[in-house]
Amino acid sequence: MPTFEYAPAPESRAVVDIKSSYGLFIGGEFVDSAGGSSFKTISPATEEVLAEVSEASDEDVDRAVAAARSAYRSWSRISGADRGKYLYRIARIMQERAREFAVLESLDNGKPIKESRDVDVPIAAAHFFYHAGWADKLAYASLGDNPRPHGVVGQVIPWNFPLLMLSWKIAPALATGNTVVLKPAETTPLTALLFAEVCQQADLPPGVVNIITGAGDTGRALIGHDDVDKVAFTGSTAVGKAIARTIAGTRKKATLELGGKAANIVFDDAPVDQAIEGIVNGIFFNQGHVCCAGSRLLVQESIAEEVEAKLKARLATLRVGDPLDKNTDIGAINSREQLDRITELTAVGEAEGATRWAPECELPANGFWFRPTIFTGVSQTHRIAQEEIFGPVLSVLTFRTPGEAVSKANNTPYGLSAGIWTEKGSRILWMADQLKAGVVWANTFNKFDPTSPFGGYKESGYGREGGRHGLAAYVTTGANK
């Protein structure tokens, strides 16, 4: 196959103005941290320091929650129509500043600009649009009798989709009349801080949205805070369990979107070329930093060789490198810590006897990089088939019958997502019924939409985000108060 060389096509950074240091966004203003400590956020592609960010102390968490409480009194009482208008304003400003958000997201997170530009930012804006329309229509949402907000919502989001996760969390909370304190991940705080500016531009009443930066301790302080009424978390299953224990015995409600180990199941009658694209999208989208990534490929034995060969050929064409280059398919791993984890688990994969393959490609000298990697000859008991790697690493397993595919797919404590590739509609419907997963993509993968509930079974957490179901998590009704 000929190799096509691409000239560099970098997106300009000029559109973004990164400050040297950022305070916390509390009560509508950027304020200094009471604790005074700070940390640096870097570009994972170059290790360049982007900005100095405040680390919120317990006292800062108190201040943020108090600001949210005080704002709640009026925010929960203004008309739904007016709340909706603020959300529409936010959606519009995000669209107006889309390029700025996309560049900043790629800089801070390491994801390719084509993904931040075409996926993260547009869907983030779409979430505000979608929920804006719900604000004055809650009575029609079948949420139960007299749905009303919880109060102050504490939200902790991960580093894989910083702006998108923020939108998933903030938009429904605001639409239903809650106020929020949100903590972005310590490695990717910048787009959340830019979002704070959007709130200011939208004249959102002070305290309705508060953004505090920090790491695990800040998150724990927020979730454990006595005056937080509801918790929303996206992140690892281990942290999710810790949160579930923390709030046990209280009246604090929680939604948890946790890890996954999705099976992407390819039958011998699947449209193979489409399936290959789906497999690549399933696991290599966003460097595999996706909780619903199709990290376990289950191929029907009769076509396993063909699929493996085509997959390798396709992988050889993926371009790894500068996230700001518009031709880049795979950007940087978000942090050294994450790179180490991926490196460790892939070493375990080899040690346990699976066969490792990655295309030859040059990696930049600085930053955190990992080649798109495939493991073949993987069996159910291998750690790489059981544990979430959260990186561009695919494990390939085979099966013979649909029943075997189902039992292998379900053989995991997770249950977030699954994929099915077959031309047989009847089989798709049967498989979809059998799979224990909150999202099932048939002949497609990694599709998201604000109208569609997203969330997991089993240890992938509880609750759904998006759609009417996602809204339900942000209200309480007569019966469950």
């Binding site: 579930a244 224990r245 046990a248 002949n443 109208t451 509930p453 957490g461 759904r464």
Partner: protein, 314 residues
């Protein structure tokens, strides 16, 4: 146990009017459609509620092994029950009402004894319990339409969200409302296709055992409802920490002796079980008013929403 402290005089062995010696019953567990005794061989005394408590029965005191057996039976029954059509499940739930109706006087007597109610109140209670099965039976083929549907996604995809049962659900039956409360907890769990492991009211288990007999003689497949009698504070933690239980209903933790529901919820975090908390807050958690129309909350608590995507036009 607290109930054994003021032990009343035993009832006379003969019925005064006929002089006939009545046949007493041995009360057992209900697991996998069968009625075993507790593998532990233990039993505990159950008394009536009221001014002069009477001895009612030696109920089986379920053990950890019994609880585990019940979970195994419940797991085994999931695929068949969840795989049944909604129409079929509705008919089965309605059938439970039919069978209970024919045992009406027995339930009235037992509820009266268990809860210390007047005959009239007990009658009303049993009627409400039977009617509740009918109410939930009607939901079997409706909740999916109410709670699911197609999503208008911005792209060439057909996408539908439908609720599904979560799997095996453990339930602590309400301590006070021995029949209506019990039915109000069990019916919403199984109507969607979940199977249940139910821990009966510790001090009022007799109506629960009779309900098990009604279930066994209705069309509810074995294993769909499993009923354990015993000490809540002993058995509940095992159910809460069991890795093969998908969800737990803590309604009956509110008034159970020596039970802190928060501890059970914390144990449930082990495998991220779905938890239905008791009504009210913290130590003031209370039993809900089961005479009210329940709403969808209890069905929803044990459902997962599955969203299926498919390309359209390509």
């Amino acid at each position: 146990m607290s109930t054994t402290t003021n032990k009343p005089a035993s009832k006379t062995a003969t019925t005064a009017s006929t002089g006939r010696v009545d046949v007493r019953k041995t009360y057992k567990l209900y697991i996998g459609g069968k009625f075993p005794r507790s593998e532990s061989g233990r039993s505990y005394e159950v008394f009536s509620t009221g001014r002069s408590p009477k001895f009612l029965a030696n109920a089986a005191q379920g053990s950890r092994k019994d609880a585990r057996d019940a979970v195994v039976a419940a797991r085994k029954a999931v695929s068949g029950w969840a795989g049944a059509t909604a129409y079929n499940r509705g008919q089965v739930l309605y059938r439970v009402a039919e069978v209970m109706e024919s045992r009406r006087s027995q339930f009235v007597t037992e509820v009266q004894a268990a809860e210390g109610l007047t005959a009239t109140r007990a009658e009303a209670n049993v009627s409400a319990a039977i009617d509740r099965w009918v109410w939930y039976a009607g939901w079997s083929d409706k909740f999916a339409q109410v709670l699911g549907g197609t999503n208008p996604v911005a792209g060439p995809f057909f996408n539908i969200s439908a609720p599904e049962p979560t799997g095996v659900v453990a339930a602590l039956a309400p301590q006070g409302s021995s029949l209506l409360g019990l039915v109000s907890v069990v019916a919403p769990i199984i109507v969607s296709g979940n199977t249940a492991v139910v821990l009966a009211s510790q001090e009022r288990p007799v109506p629960a055992i009779t309900l098990a007999e009604a279930l066994a003689t209705s069309d509810v497949p074995g294993g769909v409802v499993n009923l354990i009698t015993g000490v809540t504070s002993e058995v509940a933690p095992w159910l809460a920490s069991h890795r093969d239980v998908n969800a737990i209903d803590l309604t009956g933790a509110a008034d159970a002796p020596d039970v802190v529901w928060g501890d059970l919820e914390a144990a449930s975090a082990e495998n991220l079980k779905r938890v239905l908390r008791p009504a009210g807050a913290g130590v003031t958690a209370t039993e809900p008013d089961f005479t009210l129309e329940p709403g969808l909350e209890r069905i929803e608590a044990f459902l997962e929403t599955k969203t299926v995507w498919h390309p359209k036009g390509t």
